[in-house]
Structure formats: C-alpha cells, structure tokens
Amino acid sequence: MKILVAIKQVPARDSQLRVQSSGRWIEQQDVSFEINEPDAYALEAGLQLSEKAGGEVVVLCAGPAGAAQTIREALAKGAHRAIHIEQDDLGALDPLAAAQLLAAAVRTEAPDLILTGLQSDDAGYGQTGVVLAELLGLPHATIIMQAEQSGSGIRVKRELEDGWFQHIEMPLPALLTIQSGISRLRYATLMGIKKARTKEIRRVTASDLGVTPAPVLSIERIYAPEKSKQTQMLEGAAGEVAAKLVEKLKFEARVL
C-alpha cells in the first residue's frame, strides 16, 4: 500500500506571536516551528498501516525552505521519502489554494491512501483534506480515530459529537483526516535520524507542478481578540495571589 501523508509545519504551541506590519500574518522570524499536531498522528497512523500492509509512506509538505526540518523529522520516524513543495507565505493560501497545490503533487504519485490532519493549528481551516479529496475525485472521511484495511478497502472509526461514533467503510484510494491523540507517537531513533539523511526529498515549486494557487478567501487583518469578560488579573507572589483569590471567591463570587 502506498500511503501519502500531508504534513504542515506550524509555529510551536507555546510561541509568543507578533502580528506582521502588513497586519495579515505573523512575524515568522521570532517563532520556532514544529509539525502540526494532528499531522503527527496522521503520520503515525500511516506508519502503522504500512507496517501491517507493507508498502511505502511518502510525506508531502508545502512550506518555505525551513519546513525541511519538519520533513526530516518525519523521515527519521520512518517515512520512506518526501515531497517538499516550496512555497513561502502559507498565510496567503486558503484551503482551496493549498489543496490545489497538494493535489498537483499527489497526481504524480497515485497513492492508495492519503492521510491529513483534521485541522491545522495555525490557520485552523479544517478543510484542506476534504477539498483535496474532492479535487482528486476520492471518497473521504473526517475526524478519524482508527483505520484498518478491510478487503480491498478501508474501515474507519469516525468521531461524531456528544460521545457518538460511527464506522464507515470505503474503497481505496481514499482520503482520511486524522484526529489528534488517537495513539502513542513514536520517537525517532538514532538509527532513524541517520537513515533520514539519505532519504529522498523531492523539491518542487508550484510552477514545476503547473499550478498557480488561486485563493478566494483573503485575510484582511489579524489582531488580538477582545476579552468577553472583565478579567481581574491577580498579581504577586504565589502565596499572596492565592490568598487574594480565596478572598475573592469567598466574598465577591461567593462560591466557597
């Protein structure tokens, strides 16, 4: 089975973000980057499936030159090779444009299964996988907790709301968007890190792929959200703030 996993590089979770002077995206210099969290689980699911079924795991990433770091880490964990679509300014891509770009690269590969994360931690559109499936004419399922091969197809467990779940079966090739936290993530071994250096990363640009990504959504302005409540921030040493808070909870909020 040939499995393609779409991974995105995003600012690390604890980054302090600063808005660019253009007001349309964040300053990239100040932050460190990591793999988008659900994509790490998509990669894990892909590696596990390929360990059972044999075949190849190819990671696909659109991002600036610096995204090579995240790609190397995926290779070190066991992905066999990678395609890096070199693309700066991801903030300007909407999910349609991102999927157009990824679709062009997928077409050169004809995988049996495509895995994406269910949502990116930066843009958070939660759509790129579904749109990619549509552009490629593939069946898909979202928010997947488990996937196993079944006959010539795949059977998955999908998360619904309010504690409901559902099993879905579909033929391959197909696309799944993977939920975070569904398994334990493996670490890269020293051996894996060494091997990764020799693995192939194919670098392509949008024009190599013959696409001009054409976003329809535009971010006009980004800014810090306004507080919906008047938050009282309590300050001081630990013992001091603790005493202040207890005082407030007892006499102001009356919840103690």
Binding site: D121, L135, G163, W164, I219, Q232, L234, A243
Partner: protein
C-alpha cells in the same frame, strides 16, 4: 433568491440546537445586507422539522427530502446541497459549524471553486462587503476574512457565537426542492452511529470543578490538582489531551467531544482555552484561570486570572483554601 441560505442540521430527526444559532446569524446577515434569508433542511421524512422552521422570519423554507439522505454520507449530502444551491442561487450559504458540516461543506464549496469561511465567530457588513471573523492559532489571534471570486460564498458559524434566542419569529412558506441522487454516487458505507460505555461520572451537576490541562506536563504531577480539588470539594476534570494520554478517564473530559458543564466555580489549570474546550465550560458562573502565558485565550473568558507557574500557584492555593475553611 439572491440572499442568504442557511443550511440547518438535524440528527436522527431532532435539531442540532446550533442550527438556531446559524439561523440567527443568517437573519442578521440578511438584514444587514438588505436582502432575504431562507433556510433549508436536508434528510428523509423531515416534514415536522420544516414546519418548525416555517414559524421563523424567513423568505422561504426549503425541504430536500430523499431516502438517500436518511443516513448522512458526504457524497449524498454534497450532491443534494449542490443541487439546492444551484437552483436557489443564494449569495451567501451559512452552516452551523458541526462535525457533519466539517465533513461535507468544504467539498460543496470546492464544487463552486470556493472555500468555506469555517468556524466564524462574528460577521459585519462594511461598504457592502461582508467580513467574517474567525480564530487563528487556536484562539490566540482573530482574523477578519473576506470572500472573493463570484458567489455563492460559504461560511459556518461557531457554537455559541450567535444566540439561538435571537431568531426572529415569522411565517414562511415551505417549498420542496427536488433533487436527483443516484445510489451509485455514494462511495462510503456508513454503519449505525453508536455510543461507547455509559459515563459513570456526571460532571454536569457538579457545583465546583478543577480542570487540568497539558500545562501539568506529566501524569505524576496530577497529585497537586487532586489536592486542590479535594480542598475545594470539587470534581476533577481535564482537557482532551490529558484524557487522550490516559492520565484521567475519558468521562472526565470537558469540551465539544466531552461533557458540557455549568458549575458555580470552574478552575482551569494549565489549559490554553481552545474553542473545543471553551464550549464545554463557558457556562460556568465563575471561571478562574491559572496559566503561565498571560496571552492564553482562556483569560478572555475568565473572571479571575493568575498569570504564573501552576506548580507554584496550585499548592499555594490549596493551602489558602484549607486555611480559609479552617
């Protein structure tokens, strides 16, 4: 029609309550644009639901009733919604941001060379143009987004962003919209939805809750929040990653895929405040947040905030509570 079309959602013949929030958003958008709003319901045997919609201030209620829509599949719902939108030609199509909408609305939008403005928290009309607000970076920043290219434009609204009780009543005619669906077009085979074991812990009736997030770093550290919970006579709860890791049982998870709680006191310890967590606890009367990042989104909804290291603050707070109770 050239106005706003709201595509509502039902599950097994009952409304998803967030449908009313999407309807409120649709009415608001239509009145700001000086146009009309219609609403559609898709499914099989949806007559009573349509009747209920007909009691709202809408231009028209559209029913898309087909046996292949009895169980949700992305393929059938996309095809049906596509035919509906092509016939009605609305300028804007609004959805509630549910798991089902996440599953098919992006596909629908792509068929119109569009992308969905997903999970919008607000909308405003400026100079005839609609700006949707949505969150970036897990709620750390907001963005105002506009739609380009030719209509229809698609957006979904976040749970809790618009108020269901602001849906304006009225009376609307019901129109059945015929669609042709071929069983061969459905590529997925969906089995019956199911629930896993019943919850043993009911957090919804708890008066006080101490909830812990990934800031706790390791399972071994949970002791300090347990002690705080005990001192406060509170139930212990958690954000999703804590339960995913198996550090606490799933039944203690608060949020869109966990429990919804409304205690008198909710203490969020080392929780960032992602929307999927907030929807489960926003209704708490008093919210305390302890987080080392002063810009964490959890502070936007907190009554009392302490920006600091939980490993110092939580034990101190436990002591202070014990002392106060004396």
């Amino acid at each position: 029609m050239s106005g706003v079309l709201v595509i509502t959602e039902q599950f097994r013949g009952a409304w998803r309550p967030i449908s009313w929030e999407a309807l409120a958003a649709g009415q608001q958008l239509a009145s700001q644009l000086g146009t009309k709003a219609g609403a559609a319901v898709l499914g099989s045997g949806i007559g009573t639901l349509a009747q209920e919609l007909a009691g709202k201030q809408l231009d028209r209620v559209y029913t898309v009733d087909h046996e292949l829509l009895a169980t949700y599949t992305a393929d059938a719902f996309t095809a049906a919604a596509e035919q509906l939108v092509r016939q009605m030609q609305p300028e804007y199509v609004l959805f509630p941001h549910t798991y089902q909408v996440r599953d098919f609305a992006p596909k629908l939008a792509a068929r119109f060379q569009q992308a969905l403005v997903s999970d919008a928290t607000a909308l405003a009309v400026r100079g005839g143009r609609v700006l949707f607000t949505r969150q970036l970076f897990q709620g750390k920043l907001n963005a105002d987004v506009s739609c380009g290219g030719p209509p229809p434009w698609f957006a979904s609204v976040q749970a809790g962003a618009f108020r269901a009780d602001q849906v304006r009543p009225g009376s609307a005619a019901i129109e059945a919209v015929p669609v042709s669906l071929d069983p061969a077009l459905i590529r997925t085979r969906a089995e019956e939805p199911f629930r896993e074991a019943q919850r043993a812990v009911d957090l919804s009736s708890a008066e006080r809750i101490v909830s812990v997030g990934r800031g706790i770093r390791e399972k071994e550290n949970l002791g300090i929040v347990e002690e705080l919970a005990q001192a406060l006579d509170a139930e212990l709860a958690a954000s999703r990653p804590i339960c995913d890791n198996g550090w606490l049982p799933m039944e203690r998870q608060v949020g869109s895929s966990g429990q919804t709680v409304a205690p008198k006191l909710y203490v969020a310890v080392g929780i960032s405040g992602a929307i999927q967590h907030l929807v489960g606890m926003k209704g708490a009367r008093t919210i305390v947040a302890i987080n080392k990042d002063a810009n964490a989104p959890i502070f936007e909804i907190a009554d009392y905030g302490i920006a600091g290291d939980l490993f110092e603050i939580v034990p101190a707070l436990t002591e202070a509570v014990k002392k106060a109770k004396g």
